[in-house]
Every structure is written in structure tokens, then in C-alpha cells.
């Protein structure tokens, strides 16, 4: 089945496709360009993004180039249930954050970043932990998306990897630089419409060109029993469970999500995030099915690289027109995520770094916008350099993922429990990261009482994940009951078993340790925080007045 390799376009064709995409996107942004941009518009589109634009932007942002490749890889590796175990949990990351997002918005209706809220609640150290993890995450995301552009261009044309990286970087920067987040949201809509339309055409086209459902049923005989099983434990434990653990961490750790929580009209948050959940799940699971089709018809990925599966399937079964559409699909998905990352990074530097820590709540809006635009240029340059060097990002990803896991409990609890202190927040993250490193890199010998302690911490982590999810939708009592039940089940079944999955133990340890430390330190605190202060402390920078320092003292300390 592998005589056909990738469809090859000429350099001119690919450059024309890229010029049409980035040129068209740039022209679109001219429609919304303002002579004088204000900071709130640049960072959160004035908090007035409607349901349609918001849902489109959330969906387009959350779908990055890796989404298709990883979903198809999951389908090819784990069979029938594989695409679902990739796409479903990614979709739930959007869904599970919205109940907390409504609380964030209620506390800080004029907010731009989650870091601002945490700064108003706790102060600088907690804010910078959150902002730092957001910055790392967005830089990694930028690099991955530029890398994907380079790889696609080099695979489908004689152009070099570096050419693809540079065109994508410059193209995204060009249309985002002037209007910031407003440009990101507006172009996300256009990009998502194209992306969805192409997905709607390509998935059935590949299915029927490959021989239709009959071939798929016949192909079940090629699969292992686990691959043919819709409820495969192999897929659940290796693909689904690690993603499930990451659901809340990715949502809390990503400024691209919280930025949209602060940008969408408050009454539209639920409908926006539910629609984005459905949109993301449908597109990603659908394109993941191409990996399942490849498995069913016996395709072997070119050079053994599973990332080649979708372009290979499209090249093998469809005409060059479809390959060109697929090219636009990938460029659209990676660009929509990259422009969101640029907007996220610029907003963090504008609000969290300049607004809160350099200008001390008395910023100059013109300087602030300049900070945002310079950040975009520097971040694009950094993304291009890192992508060009094809750096190994695995270690960075491991740390960022753990950091996000460690901050989930302190961030969420800080928004509901008035006794949580800055020390509780900061120390819980520090201790959780230290224990995560010990478990992840097995710095201690993982035997006897040591591994048992980590299994206990991981069990608490599992209870925290389930408890917080239940709490978000059903309230405190249900959350506590769900967490307690999960803890009992984990203690009964996971101890002695989890040690065989140390990566999972390490991730859950980050949740569990931060929850324990944060709770213990908080219980010793006598402070009571007045949540109404957050509303006063997080405001609009365009008409900022000199900060009232007395308001920075926690109420319980007065």
C-alpha cells in the first residue's frame, strides 16, 4: 500500500497557497482596525465578544496542528476507541473550566488574565508562578506550531523546513500585531469556518475513497482484540487516563482559555464553552478516524512516522485539490493557535508584568500597548529560533505539565475559600513540584514505604481531580462526596498497583501534594479575605487611577 508517497506541489504553488492564506487573513484584520487601539480591546476585545465569535475562537484556538496528528496516531495505535480517547478529553478541558470561569468572571469582571485575579487575591509570588507557567506553555505551543508548518511545507514541496517556519511566523505576527486579541478572535472565526468545511469534506472523502465502511469492517480482522474493542483498557490506561488527569491542569494553565473567559460576554460563557467543546470534539475525533481507516486498510506510515498518517492517506486516496485543502486546514489550525499564543503572551506581559509589577497599577496605556506589541515580536522570534533548531521539548513539557497540575488546587480554592493565603499558595506549588520531580525522575528508590507514600499522595491527587470536577458543576457537597469516594476507591485499588505507572503517579502527586500542603497551611491561617476586593483591584487600564495602597493589605490583616 505504500508505493504512493506524498503529493508534491511546486514551490510556487505552496508559496501561492501561503500567500493567499496569510494575505487573506491580513486583509480581514483591516476590517476591524482602529486608528487608536485601547488596552482592553487589545487584550480582551472589550469583554464584549458574542457567542458565535467566542465559540469559534475557543474552538480554533484549542485545535492546534498536533491535534490532528495525535488523534490519528491514537486511532492507528489503539484502534476503534483511539480517536475518542484523544479528542474527548481534549474537549472536556474546555467544558470543565467554564463553571470556574464564571466564578473568575464574577470575581474580576474587568480582568484580562487569571494572574491579575491571583495578584489581587494573594500578591506577587502567586501571580508570577501562574504567569510564568502561562508564558512557558505559550512559548512551547508557538514553537510546536511553527515546527508543524515547517514540517508540512518540507513534506509537500521542495521548499525547506526553515522556509515554512519563517513564513508561518511572519504571517501570524503580521495580522496579529496591530489589533492583538481582536484580530485573533476575528480571524479565528474565518479560520474555523474553513477548517470545519474542509474537515466535513475530507473525512467522508477518505472513508469512501479507501473502500467505504465494508473495507473498515473487513479490516477489523487486521486488528488486535484490544484495537477492535470500543472499551479497550489498553486505550483507556495509556491514552485516556493521562489525558483525563490533565483536563483541569491544561485549562487552568492556559492563558488562551482564561483570556476568552474574560473576553466573552458574561451571559454567553456557558453556551460558548459548551459549543466549543462539541466543535473541538467533533473535528478532532473525526480527523482521528483517518488514523483508524489507515489501520483498517493496512497502511504503513512513511518512514515509520505516525505524524505522516493523515497527509499520506489524503495523498494516497484523494486528488491534489484535497491535498491543497488539507494543507490549508493544517496551516489554519496552527495559525489560529499561534495568534492566540501571541495574544496571550502579550496580555500577560502587559497586565501581569508591566501593569501589576512595573507600573504598580498606574500604567500608561500607550506604553502598555507598546509592551504588548514588543512581546509579540520577541515571542515570534523566540518561537522561530526554537522551532528552527528542532529542540527537544519533552523535558520542558514535563515540567510545565507538572506545574499546571500543581497550581490547579491552589488557584481554584483561592477563588472560593477566604482563608487561603499567599504562603499556602506558594508553598503548595513549591512542595508539589519537588515531590513531582522525585517521583517522575525516581530520585529516590521507589520501593517499600517510599513508593507507598507516593501512591497515597497520588490517590489524594485522583480524589482532588474528581472532587474539583464534581464541585465545578454540582457544588461543594457533591464535590466533597465525589472526592471522598474517589479517595477510598484509590486507596483500596491503586496502592500496590499505581507503582507500575510512575508517570501517572508523578502527575497525580503534583495535584495531591499541592492540595494537602495548601489545605494544611490554610487551616493554620486566621486571615479572612473579602472577595469583593478583587473587583476593586482588577480594573481597566485605559482609565487607571493611582493605586490605593491600603487596598493591597488583606482584609484579615488590617
Amino acid at each position: 500500500m505504500n508505493e504512493i508517497e506524498f503529493t508534491q506541489f511546486s514551490a510556487t504553488t505552496v508559496l501561492l497557497l501561503l500567500a493567499a492564506f496569510y494575505g487573506g487573513t491580513y486583509l480581514l484584520t483591516l476590517l476591524i482596525r482602529k486608528e487608536k487601539e485601547d488596552t482592553t480591546g487589545f487584550m480582551v476585545a472589550g469583554h464584549h465578544v458574542g457567542f458565535g465569535m467566542g465559540a469559534a475562537s475557543m474552538t480554533a484556538t484549542w485545535i492546534w496542528a498536533a491535534s490532528f496528528y495525535a488523534a490519528a496516531t491514537s486511532g492507528y495505535t489503539y484502534g476503534v476507541s483511539g480517536p475518542i480517547h484523544y479528542g474527548l478529553w481534549g474537549a472536556l478541558m474546555i467544558l470543565f473550566i467554564y463553571p470556574f470561569g464564571r466564578r473568575f468572571r464574577q470575581l474580576a469582571p474587568n480582568g484580562h488574565t487569571l494572574g491579575e485575579l491571583i495578584h489581587a487575591r494573594h500578591g506577587t509570588s502567586s501571580q508570577l508562578i501562574l504567569a510564568g507557567s502561562n508564558i512557558l506553555g505559550s512559548i512551547i505551543s508557538l514553537m510546536v506550531n511553527f515546527t508543524a508548518a515547517g514540517a508540512l511545507v518540507s513534506v509537500l514541496s521542495p521548499l525547506s523546513f526553515q522556509t515554512g517556519v519563517i513564513v508561518a511566523g511572519v504571517g501570524v505576527l503580521a495580522y496579529t500585531l496591530t489589533s492583538g486579541f481582536r484580530a485573533s478572535v476575528f480571524t479565528d472565526f474565518a479560520q474555523l469556518v474553513a477548517l470545519m468545511a474542509i474537515a466535513i469534506i475530507i473525512i467522508p472523502a477518505v472513508l469512501f475513497a479507501a473502500g467505504g465502511p465494508e473495507i473498515m469492517v473487513a479490516g477489523l480482522s487486521r486488528m488486535t482484540r484490544e484495537q477492535a474493542d470500543l472499551f479497550s483498557m489498553d486505550a483507556i490506561l495509556n491514552q485516556g487516563a493521562p489525558f483525563f488527569v490533565a483536563v483541569l491542569a491544561y485549562a487552568i494553565g492556559n492563558q488562551t482559555i482564561s483570556q476568552r473567559l474574560f473576553a466573552v460576554r458574561e451571559d454567553n460563557i456557558k453556551s460558548t464553552f459548551v459549543t466549543a467543546t462539541l466543535g473541538y470534539g467533533a473535528i478532532v475525533i473525526g480527523l482521528g478516524m483517518i488514523g483508524l481507516i489507515a489501520l483498517s486498510v493496512g497502511i504503513e506510515p512513511i518512514n515509520g512516522n505516525l505524524n505522516n498518517l493523515i497527509p499520506q492517506m489524503v495523498s494516497t486516496y484523494l486528488s491534489p485539490v484535497f491535498v491543497a485543502l488539507f494543507f490549508i486546514l493544517v496551516i489554519g489550525s496552527l495559525s489560529s493557535t499561534a495568534d492566540s499564543d501571541l495574544s496571550a503572551l502579550s496580555t500577560i506581559m502587559m497586565a501581569d508584568v508591566y501593569g501589576k509589577n512595573i507600573a504598580r497599577d498606574n500604567p500608561n496605556p500607550t506604553t502598555m500597548l507598546l509592551v504588548g506589541r514588543i512581546t509579540m515580536i520577541v515571542a515570534t522570534a523566540a518561537g522561530l529560533v526554537f522551532a528552527s533548531f528542532s529542540l527537544d521539548i519533552l523535558v520542558m513539557l514535563v515540567f510545565v505539565g507538572a506545574l499546571w497540575g500543581a497550581i490547579v488546587f491552589p488557584v481554584i480554592v483561592s477563588c472560593y475559600w477566604d482563608r487561603v493565603t499567599n504562603a499556602a499558595f506558594t508553598w503548595s506549588v513549591v512542595v508539589a513540584m519537588a515531590l513531582f520531580c522525585i517521583a517522575r525522575f525516581e530520585l529516590l528508590e521507589m520501593t517499600g514505604i517510599t513508593v507507598l507514600i507516593f501512591e497515597l499522595l497520588a490517590s489524594v491527587g485522583g480524589a482532588v481531580v474528581i472532587g474539583l470536577m464534581a464541585f465545578g458543576f454540582f457544588g461543594r457537597i457533591t464535590g466533597l462526596i465525589a472526592g471522598a469516594l474517589t479517595l477510598v476507591v484509590m486507596l483500596l485499588f491503586a496502592t500496590g498497583f499505581l507503582r507500575d505507572y510512575m508517570v501517572l503517579v508523578a502527575s497525580l502527586t503534583a495535584y495531591g501534594a499541592s492540595a494537602i500542603v495548601c489545605t494544611l497551611i490554610t487551616l493554620f491561617s486566621q486571615e479572612r479575605f473579602d472577595f469583593d476586593l478583587i473587583k476593586q483591584r482588577v480594573g481597566n487600564y485605559d482609565d487607571a487611577e493611582p493605586a490605593d495602597d491600603s487596598a493591597l493589605i488583606p482584609e484579615g490583616a488590617k
Partner: protein
């Protein structure tokens, strides 16, 4: 025959769902454009 239909549905449900979400989003955006035009405000 049944499993062929089930398999076809299992794969084709996702583009169908995508079409549904696309329709909902486009209708909402058109509504917002009209509202913004009537109110004399920017869409975004």
C-alpha cells in the same frame, strides 16, 4: 450488514456533528453582525 452501518455511522457522525456546530456558530455570528449594525457598534 448491521456492523457496516454501525461502522459508517461511527465515522460519519463526527463530520455531521461538525456541520451542526458550524451552522450554529455561523447563525450566531450573522445575528451578532446584524445587532451590531443596528446599534451602530463594532462587531468586535
Amino acid at each position: 450488514m448491521t456492523s457496516t452501518w454501525a461502522y459508517a455511522a461511527y465515522i460519519l457522525i463526527w463530520p455531521a456533528l461538525t456541520l451542526g456546530v458550524l451552522t450554529v456558530i455561523c447563525r450566531a455570528v450573522i445575528r451578532d453582525i446584524n445587532k451590531a449594525r443596528k446599534a451602530g457598534k463594532d462587531l468586535i
